[in-house]
């Protein structure tokens, strides 16, 4: 399961500058946008769309490294065995049939119509070669293949993947970077240049990679020979450029750029009043959480619950995100509910202990929990790096702690060091909590809640529960959606009961487009499906 925290803190570095440059936006206001996974279908075509990325892609070889910038581009040129829908479900695509045979084999039957750029059919050999490349040691998607024992061609257009154990998230993962099918001849011809500005694109998709001018732009052109007329692109060219969020906002406001998926939701606040720009929000898995460390001040789950009960999430959403984030009770956004959505919604609504704004009874319960657990000897330390959202959250933690009779203080670390909390136990031992935006790339709660297992890499707080570990294993093996959903709900309940991490706010995917453009999904689907194919003119004759 490929899960990632958000991009490097550098992506947020311009936030202060952003607020200054768009000073006309005044103080953050309470804003709520109706969320939808899609935007209106276009009425006409466009010649060129200029789309902004938060940074220049480091590489376009997604086995080298995935990331927001490179995925935003390559989702349009490199299609996968499964395809992610705007609603964040996974449906068969290059594999027109994909399913389990017994508990230990996945059989993929390929779409015989599918071809690479030069018209060569996509065969089982190509799929086997691609999957082996994804599974290779050090490849960014190798962990998707952790349970895979063998990948074999079992027909000209059929591939059988044998597993050591049933792995329910394997098929949905094939809609992600681990399911890309490559034209091996192109990659072999490219050699080391593949993925660099000198490389070519080795896939199939509605767009082809036309040019990557390092430091300047990446250009995609519609693939006229694309095999799937239903998914063909409407717009001829998509030009990707990149800049800090403040510059992106200015470019959107002046019409120099036609659209962007914004890295920080707060960046959209000044655009909300701009009639030439439309802002959309849609489902994502992103949640800002307070991640607990092994330091031990909050070792007692009662203290974690107490802190959660007293946290002013609504205020954080308004002060740090201009109202474009939502107080949230679990560490996984609703975009993670890729199946049995109604069941997950119902279970979410039943979660307690993370109020949007603590009421008197919440605070009473919190104080009672503190009284029964006893306050730690040393103050609780919450990390910040001075970045606006983290500053607001850290101050809210200190405030919440004081309200319920705990002592808390903020420890500020350099922005460049913040990411080291994930790799450096010494650094973690200096704080009890660090706030970070966390997202997963697969839309299955099991993919997140496995992080509570006692051997999980990001379970620093010492939360151990043998039943939980057992549930994780069962859930990963449960290939039946309804059954897996029940297990996931139980995991969610236990995680929340122990408050392994303290959830803060959910940040939907935030899309800004010029008023003349439409058709892009407003959900996190832009990271793995050919979202740009839907782009077009909002009204006929706009081109």
């Amino acid at each position: 399961m490929k899960d990632r925290r958000s991009g490097p803190p550098a992506a947020l570095a311009a936030a202060g500058l952003l607020l200054a440059s768009t000073a006309c936006a005044a103080a953050p206001v309470q804003t709520t946008l109706e969320q939808s996974p899609t935007t209106a279908a276009p009425a006409g075509a466009l010649d060129t769309v200029t789309w902004m990325l938060p940074e220049e892609p480091g590489t376009l070889d997604l086995d080298g490294e995935g990331g927001t910038a490179q995925n935003t581009v390559m989702a349009n040129t490199c299609e996968r065995l499964m395809r992610m829908t705007p609603e964040l479900g996974a449906v068969p695509h290059l594999a027109e049939e994909a399913g389990w045979e017994g508990d230990d084999a996945v059989v993929l039957r390929l779409n015989r119509a599918a071809t690479f750029r030069d018209g060569t059919p996509i065969t089982a050999d190509d799929v086997v070669w691609s999957m082996e490349r994804h599974a290779a040691e050090g490849a960014s998607e190798a962990d998707e293949y952790a349970n895979v024992e063998s990948i074999d061609k079992t027909g000209e257009y059929e591939v059988t993947v044998r597993m050591a154990q049933a792995d329910a998230v394997f098929l949905p993962a094939m809609a992600g970077n681990g399911g890309i099918v490559y034209d091996r001849r192109v990659i072999e011809a490219d050699g080391d240049a593949y993925g660099t500005p000198d490389g070519s694109d080795a896939c199939t998709g509605p767009y082809r990679l036309a040019e990557w001018r390092s430091g300047t732009q990446v250009i995609l052109e519609r693939d006229e020979g694309y095999w799937n007329p239903e998914g063909a692109a409407t717009t001829d060219r998509v030009v990707f450029r990149w800049a800090e969020q403040s510059a992106v906002v200015n470019m959107l406001a002046t019409g120099e750029a036609d659209g962007a998926y914004l890295d920080t939701a707060a960046a959209a606040v000044p655009l909300l009043r701009d009639e030439t720009v439309q802002v959309f929000q849609g489902p994502s898995t992103n949640v800002w959480s307070l991640i607990t460390t092994e330091r031990g001040g909050l070792a007692d789950p009662r203290l974690r619950r107490a802190l959660s009960l007293a946290l002013e999430r609504d205020g954080i959403a308004r002060a740090a995100f201009g109202g474009l984030a939502e107080p949230w009770s679990t560490p996984l956004g609703p975009g993670g509910w890729g199946y049995e959505t109604a069941r997950f919604r119902q279970a979410y609504d039943a979660i307690e202990g993370a109020p949007a704004s603590p009421a008197g009874q919440d605070l009473e319960r919190a104080r009672a929990l503190v009284a029964s657990a006893g306050a730690p000897e040393e103050p609780i330390v919450v990390a910040s790096d001075g970045e606006p959202a983290r500053t607001v959250i850290a101050n809210a933690v200190v405030d919440a702690a004081r309200t319920i009779g705990l002592e808390a203080e903020i420890r500020t670390v350099p922005r460049q060091q913040y990411g080291s909390f994930y790799v450096d136990a010494d650094l973690r031992s200096q704080v009890d909590l660090f706030a970070d935006e966390y997202w997963i790339s697969k839309n299955d709660p099991v993919g997140f809640y496995k992080n509570g297992a006692s051997d999980a890499g990001v379970n620093y707080s010492g939360f151990t529960d043998p039943d939980y570990d057992e549930l994780v294993k069962d859930a990963q093996a449960a290939t039946d959606d309804a059954e897996r959903a029940e297990l996931a709900v139980e995991l969610e309940r236990r995680w929340s009961e122990a408050m392994v991490w303290i959830p803060v706010v959910q940040v939907p995917t935030t899309l800004a487009m010029g008023s003349h453009v439409t058709g892009a999904p407003a959900s996190a689907a832009f990271l793995s499906g050919p979202w740009a194919a839907g782009l077009g003119a909002r009204e006929e004759g706009e081109r």
Binding site: R4, P8, A10, A20, T59, D143, M251, S420, G457
Partner: protein, 317 residues
């Protein structure tokens, strides 16, 4: 002469070697760890994986060994491979350099032309209202941080009036000029103020000298006096100042590039520092040292051409 050039060259090489070592040491002493970026997915972080990544990038070696590896490559022209972009550092810098050079070049023209003109105007009208206006204006201009000015310019001329693009480089010469006008103004205004003040000061000193009085007394027109006797003699300090300002600009475009979304050396450096892309940081900072040395050397070479007195001293030495 050859000995002088050789000595100078050796001095530069020594400076480069020392500064590269200092930069290298400073980067490793800075808080944070490139592994947090290199390792990627936090859920894959295991002590073994961290160790493997460290070994792959030689981060587990002692500082001096790492420096040695880098220096050995650097002397053969291999500046290493970027951690973040996975391509040759030399190529990365070469693709970013034109943007920064164009921006600095444009800014140079602006602050030289307008700075010298304003300074000369103030000197000639010394004590008058023009002089006061220039002095007050340049004092104000010198005190505005460039990024604040940049934001104000974007807000007024980019977003509200729509006269200039707010980001990027543009295509073609005219497109580039159009795109770089606001950034160049933002970058040059503070320097323009400094150059204007230096020009005013040195010209004012010249105006008081005897040879100017003598020239005037001999009936030479005022315009000619100012051009031939005052400005010409004042050029030395002005050129030196312009050169120093340019040298500092070659490494000081970070804020402007960030605000205007220009992929130049400055934004490359910021990105590299934030992601601990050591090879890139090292190379960019060295580029800055080299740029500084080249510009100051050029000033030294140009100086005697402008001022015969310096030339005479040079020949005696």
């Amino acid at each position: 002469m050859i000995a002088h050039a050789l000595r100078r060259l050796l001095g530069m090489v020594f400076t480069l070697a020392v500064s590269s070592l200092l930069i290298f040491g400073a980067m490793y002493a800075a808080p944070g760890d490139p592994v947090s970026f290199l390792v990627g997915d936090p859920e894959n972080v295991t002590p073994e994986r961290v160790a493997a990544v460290r070994a792959a990038y030689h981060l587990d070696e002692p500082l001096i060994v790492q420096y040695g590896l880098w220096a050995a490559g650097a002397v053969t022209g291999d500046l290493g491979t970027s951690f973040q972009y996975n391509s040759a550092v030399g190529d990365l810098i070469l693709t970013r350099l034109p943007a920064t050079l164009a921006l600095v070049g444009y800014a140079c023209v602006l602050f030289t032309v307008f700075g010298v003109a304003l300074g000369a105007l103030a000197a000639v009208r010394r004590g008058g209202r023009t002089d006061s206006a220039v002095t007050a204006g340049t004092t104000l201009a010198a005190s505005i941080p460039s990024f604040v000015l940049a934001i104000a310019l974007i807000s007024l001329f980019g977003v509200q009036l729509g006269w200039f693009p707010v980001a990027g480089l543009g295509e073609g010469l005219l497109g580039r000029l159009h795109h770089l006008t606001l950034p160049a103004i933002a970058l040059s205004l503070g320097s323009l103020a400094i150059v204007a003040r230096v020009t005013r000061q040195t010209m004012a000193e010249q105006l008081d000298l005897e040879h100017v009085t003598a020239a005037r007394a001999s009936g030479i027109g005022e315009g000619h006096v100012v051009r031939r006797h005052v400005l010409r003699n004042a050029l030395g300090p002005v050129v030196t100042m312009c050169g120093l300002v340019t040298a500092s600009m070659l490494g000081g475009t970070v804020a402007i590039e960030t605000v205007f979304g220009i992929s130049g050396i400055g934004s490359l450096l910021v990105g590299a520092i934030n992601t601990f892309d050591f090879p890139v940081v090292q190379a960019v900072l060295l580029y800055m040292v080299i740029a500084y040395m080249v510009v100051t050397t050029l000033i030294d070479l140009v100086h005697p051409l402008l001022d015969p007195r310096v030339r005479a001293q040079g020949s005696r030495a």
